[in-house]
Amino acid sequence: MQSNRLGWILLAPTLVILFFFGVVPFLYVLWLSFHQWNPFALDPTIVYNGADNFRALVFDSGFLSSLGVTIAFVFFAVLSELIIGYLLAQAFLKEFPGKAFFRTIHTLPLIMAPIIVGSIWKLMTTPSIGIIPSLLDSWFGFDLNIGTSAVAAFTVTVVMDVWHWTPLVTLTLIAALVSLPADPFEQAQIDGANKRQIFWHITLPMIAPALLATVFIRLMDALRTVDEVLMLTGGGPGSATRYLGVHIFKEVFPKTNYGYGSAVSIIVLYLTIVSCWLLYVALIAPRNKKA
């Protein structure tokens, strides 16, 4: 009883902060999503409009287009980060000259604010004068123009996200890999398993919880990407990179369409939870059942 009370006392500051900065804003957004409110409308008051905002979403071509490009962005960005992150984690487990230096350099993007990352990539990819289009033009005669080509803009946003967040995946997977026991690997080698078999049947299942946690974190982050993309392309060209986060930002802040923007936010939260749940069911639940 005594230790239970002490536990609650120790937890209390965190719970209070979480309540005011997490639960209250969420409830406020949920409440707003059932209202119409634009402070710059002729009538700036908040008016209850039932499920109208959610109904409008279904027919909003802008939202549906954003949803489509966001799913593509999340798929390519998170998958690339997992593959590259795993390969880098394996590389950093081996000894090679300058390993500490490369590991530090590799981690640096993580400490940069997203808005700075967006600014740097904007400078690097400005058509004609940015260093990347300039080198691609000089070396391969390739014209990279993120202001006109939807594919180029989409690809650059994916590459930028991979550059920024792969170190997180690498660090998580390094931690997971070094904590694996040596016995199963030695036994597999004695039994004649090749590298591919060891990876699929031993390494992957054993790091699956860490991998899944990383995927969840990256999935949630990628679904709400705003700053970097807004800085780099503004959501353009056209609506090619108007991802859901950017769509919500433009709906809520410049357009001050608070009710509708809140409804979109709630839907994105719902999609995030469903995506994570599906991943959990597909990857972890079957293993638990077997066990």
């Binding site: 260093i131 202001g147 503004g234 353009g236 056209g238 609506s239 357009k255």
Partner: protein, 483 residues
């Protein structure tokens, strides 16, 4: 293209993003009054938020420290991007958090702020607090631009701190080069001089783009503020190009139930609007490649880097482009002219029925939610003192007091700028700020996705403007302005 050159252009862009610093020494005539006035605000810190522009950077870097030195009142000015500035200011005033004591009010947002009662009536506040009124401060000192910031009863709701027109800049070294003149004459049969019509402007632009290509130069015929995902492109078309074709106030007729479509009495999708858009798109196609990612800042950078022979450039950047050798490659090579026009537009502007381009600027307003209103009133008057204007005007291409035109530095820069300040004084009346609507960003955000699709070629200009006009009306109906 020379790689080192490209890097240097990027470096100019980087310099622009980090802002500028100034170190002029300002002498305040009645410093004793300011010292006394500041005494009762000991320990007060004023916080302001503004867009990172040359004029605002001067406030943060020069005026704020000088004010603190005089009065002991600490002033923290946050200079940030245009979007962030609005985001922070509106959230603060909407939520009544009282973080900011001064907010930048661009001319086009004042009507929205007034409709929400966000701002303090400065005229009234100073009348009611006579001990706070600086002896040298007078609303009579301001240029006519101050009228943009008056509200109900004629009260002033913002102290103008920058004012400029979007001008037609051109490269005097190119336009006056005998070889270039001869080549132009040979190609077109005309003398090379700043254009007065769109056809002439296009001819000059095409000539210089071809000239740059033929001579392996990084030179194009025109600038274009044609970002495919930022409202800067929307602004360039509706506020700088469409008016030169006789399409005013974004093509929305406020006196006719806020009609935007031709069908209902608006002009957003009129034949003139469509012609203007096609002309502008054709200019965009022969502008430097970075134009599709350019907002107002990058357009200035492009011109300063010597990559365009002519262009429409915000006047706030004109001074540094023409005079700052650390940032500009075209110092002493810049001329100014009025924008090219369609026949009849100048007559409409002179009669007050229309305008020929964009008159922009902003003021510092005092939010009603500020917790330090009295101290903020002091700083805002300080910004309007005649003795702080001269260096500020030279550094930020901005003039808000009539007396500033006659100061030595302004007259000197005016010569280097080919008469920009003279144009601002003499022809400023031909330009106009944004329309007096309280729903700026709402209409822009409702229509800009379609505008960006026009820019990428996914939708044709005619069809696109039709769609935009319909969307504008739908949004205005949704907001309750259109019945």
């Amino acid at each position: 293209m020379n790689f080192a050159y490209r890097l240097s252009v990027s470096a100019i862009a980087l310099t622009m993003m980090t802002g500028a610093s100034f170190a002029q020494d300002i002498q305040i005539q009645n410093s004793e009054w300011w010292q006394n006035a500041g005494q009762k605000f000991d320990g007060v810190t004023l916080r302001g938020v503004t867009e990172s522009t040359p004029a605002s950077n001067y406030v943060a870097d020069v005026l704020a420290p000088k004010f603190e030195e005089l009065t002991g009142i600490d002033v923290q000015i946050e200079t940030t991007s245009w979007d962030q500035m609005y985001d922070k200011a509106i959230k603060d005033m909407e939520a009544k958090t009282g973080i900011y004591d001064m907010v930048y009010i661009e001319q086009d947002i004042i009507y929205a702020y007034l409709s929400r009662n966000f701002l303090v009536n400065l005229t009234k506040a100073l009348d009611e607090n006579a001990e706070l009124k600086a002896p040298e401060y007078s609303e009579e000192n301001f240029t006519s631009f101050v009228e943009n910031f008056r509200g109900e009863g004629g009260g002033l709701y913002g102290v103008p701190m920058e004012a400029f027109i979007k001008v037609y800049l051109y490269r005097t070294d190119l336009f006056n080069d005998p070889d270039v003149q001869a080549a132009f004459k040979e190609k077109t049969g005309k003398d090379l001089k700043p254009a007065t019509t769109h056809a002439d402007y296009a001819e000059i632009a095409e000539f210089f783009t071809e000239y740059g290509k033929a001579n392996d130069m990084d030179l194009w015929g025109t600038t274009a503020q044609a970002h495919t995902g930022h409202p800067a492109s929307w602004y360039e078309y509706f506020e700088s190009v469409a008016p030169t074709y006789g399409v005013y106030n974004w093509g929305i007729d406020a006196s006719n139930n806020y009609a935007a479509t031709v069908e209902n009495g608006g002009t957003m999708n009129s034949p003139e609007a469509k012609e203007a858009l096609k002309w502008w798109l054709s200019m965009r196609d022969i502008a430097p490649p970075e134009s599709v990612q350019s907002t107002w800042t990058e357009v200035a950078t492009t011109f300063a880097a010597g990559r365009a022979a002519q262009g429409l450039v915000y006047g706030e950047n004109a001074a540094w482009i023409a005079t700052d050798e650390e940032k500009s490659r075209v110092v002493g090579k810049v001329g100014v002219a009025l924008p090219p026009l369609e026949p009849g537009v100048m007559e409409e502007a002179e009669s007050g029925e229309g305008y020929i381009g964009y008159y922009d600027g902003g003021a510092f307003g005092l939010p009603v939610t500020s917790k330090n209103q009295d101290a903020a009133l002091l700083f805002m008057q300080f910004m309007a003192l005649p003795e702080v204007q001269e260096d500020w005007a030279a550094a930020g291409s901005r003039i808000t007091l009539t007396s500033t035109y006659d100061t030595a530095k302004v007259m000197e820069v005016d010569k280097e700028l080919g008469g920009y300040y003279s144009m601002l004084r003499d022809d400023g009346k031909l330009f106009k700020g944004a329309p007096e609507y309280p729903f700026h960003r709402q209409v822009i955000e409702a229509t800009s996705p379609t505008f960006y699709e026009i820019l990428t070629g996914s939708i044709g200009p005619d069809e696109g403007l039709d769609m935009m006009a319909e969307k504008a009306e739908a949004e205005l109906k949704n907001l309750g302005y259109r019945k």
